[in-house]
Assembly symmetry: C2
Homo-oligomer: 314 residues x 2
């Protein structure tokens, strides 16, 4: 069996000036804005407790969740929650479904404190932005937005996983539920690929992870027995991870997987309602072809010849 480990997305070396600029920004930002923020957030409460209160939030959260989200030691967390409980800011109860779990929720007093935290943080941000014209603020918002999108994208790792893997199943289920809502005629989950179709020599299932959390998937299957044509299916991105350019990247990874498996051509079909997907495929070098299957959901059919372009587009 050939190597199926995900190959590095991009082998070109990183320009020293890009590194320097990221480091420079990092230094400036964390020292000047981040440090300020932490200082104001806490006020007369220890930073750890302030963060914990913030993280519990309006809806409450299980200790387990908080532990993972904040990356805290279980004992440390337990003690902090106890302290906040003693101060009347937090109320702890047993999870109704699983009595090993505890749920922490804010009391009214806790809510007040969190509201104050937010007001302070807002005031800090407002004070910063006050020094700019509305136009410049808009520029700043835009710049921070695209920086954040790119940093998120950079941190996402795409992996080949087994079709039966729970993360894969979760993605495919979410995909099915998503398009079931978007297709006027609904979507029958029985139409999803089977695990056996996307493993081994002829197929692959890719899952994209953002900090351990699966946020996107895409499947490659063998289209014919001859083995020259692959089919791409179920390219899906979690709503939280859209507009990062992740679909394009997944597509590129899927094409690379197809090349690795010796396919010359990949095909895919798409529903009439998914117009963004259609533009994406066109932008990535796919061209429309006649219907090649009897998929009830397929309205447009695309194909791309592999082995000529660079891995994933500009």
């Amino acid at each position: 069996m050939r190597a199926m480990h995900p190959v590095p997305v991009n082998t070109s070396t990183v320009a020293a000036e890009d590194i320097a600029s990221l480091r420079h920004f990092n230094r400036y930002f964390t020292r000047r804005i981040g440090a300020l923020d932490d200082h104001y957030l806490g006020q007369d409460r220890p930073l750890g407790e302030a963060r914990l209160l913030f993280e519990i939030g309006e809806d409450g959260a299980s200790l387990r969740d908080l532990r993972v989200r904040l990356g805290l030691d279980a004992g440390y967390l337990s003690r902090m929650v106890k302290a906040l409980d003693a101060e009347g800011l937090v109320r702890v109860s047993v999870h109704p479904g699983d009595s090993r779990l505890r749920i922490a929720e804010l009391t009214p007093a806790g809510r007040v404190e969190v509201t104050e935290q937010n007001l302070r943080a807002d005031a800090l941000a407002e004070g910063l932005l006050k020094g700019l014209t509305p136009d410049q603020r808009e520029q700043l918002t835009g710049a921070l937005g695209s920086a954040q999108r790119l940093l998120r994208l950079a941190a996402i790792r795409v992996e080949v996983v087994d079709g039966g893997h729970p993360d894969a199943q979760a993605c495919l289920d979410a995909y099915a539920a998503d398009i079931d809502e978007r297709f006027p005629e609904g979507y029958d989950p029985a139409t999803l690929v089977q695990p056996c179709e996307v493993s081994g020599e002829s197929g692959a299932l890719l899952v994209a992870y953002e900090e351990k959390r699966p946020v996107a998937c895409g499947a490659l299957t063998g289209f014919d027995q001859g083995g020259r044509i692959g089919e791409i299916r179920h390219v899906w991105v979690h709503p939280d991870a859209r507009r990062l350019g992740l679909a394009r990247r997944l597509l590129g990874e899927l094409e690379r997987q197809a090349e690795e498996r010796g396919y010359d051509v990949v095909r895919l079909d798409t529903h009439a309602s998914l117009t963004e997907a259609q533009s994406l495929y066109r932008a990535c070098g796919y061209r429309e072809i006649p219907r090649y299957n009897d998929d009830v959901y397929g309205a447009y059919f695309f194909e791309k010849r592999l082995g000529t372009e660079r891995p994933w587009g500009p």
Copy 2:
């Protein structure tokens, strides 16, 4: 005497979404990149010491400087330096000019450690950027760059200071030295405004501060005895603070000061070699007029009628 306190630069309220976007970015960035960076920077050295080593840098620094730059308690700093000295990473000596001051410098071993720090930080940044295409990296660098410029600009405060204030004098001296180099014929510092010309009713001297450090200046004087015309002079920005849009902002502040003093018109002249300045004035609504004085350095003369535009440009 009328109130001469600097008025707020901009009175429009800050949009809630701009505040939210800044806070959102801040959370994402400090938790994900900043925290990572700190963790990697230190390795098996306490973070405080690692930061201190970095801050001492190749050129060394006085304890006083370090104390201010890092915002540390004097006793705490003293002890950290002592610890680094004991480890052979830092060497402390008495300042040649002022024996109250101590200078901390890296020993060769300290230099090695800082180099390693830098390599680790570079590797971290490179790992992040590896997930992007060269194109996306360029976008990221651009976005971070403009965000940083805007954040710096937002943090700069413009103040009216007395013409004799040491910060004012420092700026004017730097201005004189700067243009002395740029003018082919040199510049005679005797031509600078006198403190009495920029104080009281008819004139003002503005100094822009970036975190307590003066980084730009600009002077407003009365041009004629009638009191309808003001003259703007000595608009200068420290090289480190250029390309932020600070000159434009200073100009706007000076115009506001002129309006406050009842001037209808402001004039200024500029040297033939300062072409950027000329474009700035044009962009800010100044129009060229005939020579109005016998200044030997003046080659182009501009004027602007006040009281119509918004404080400072788009």
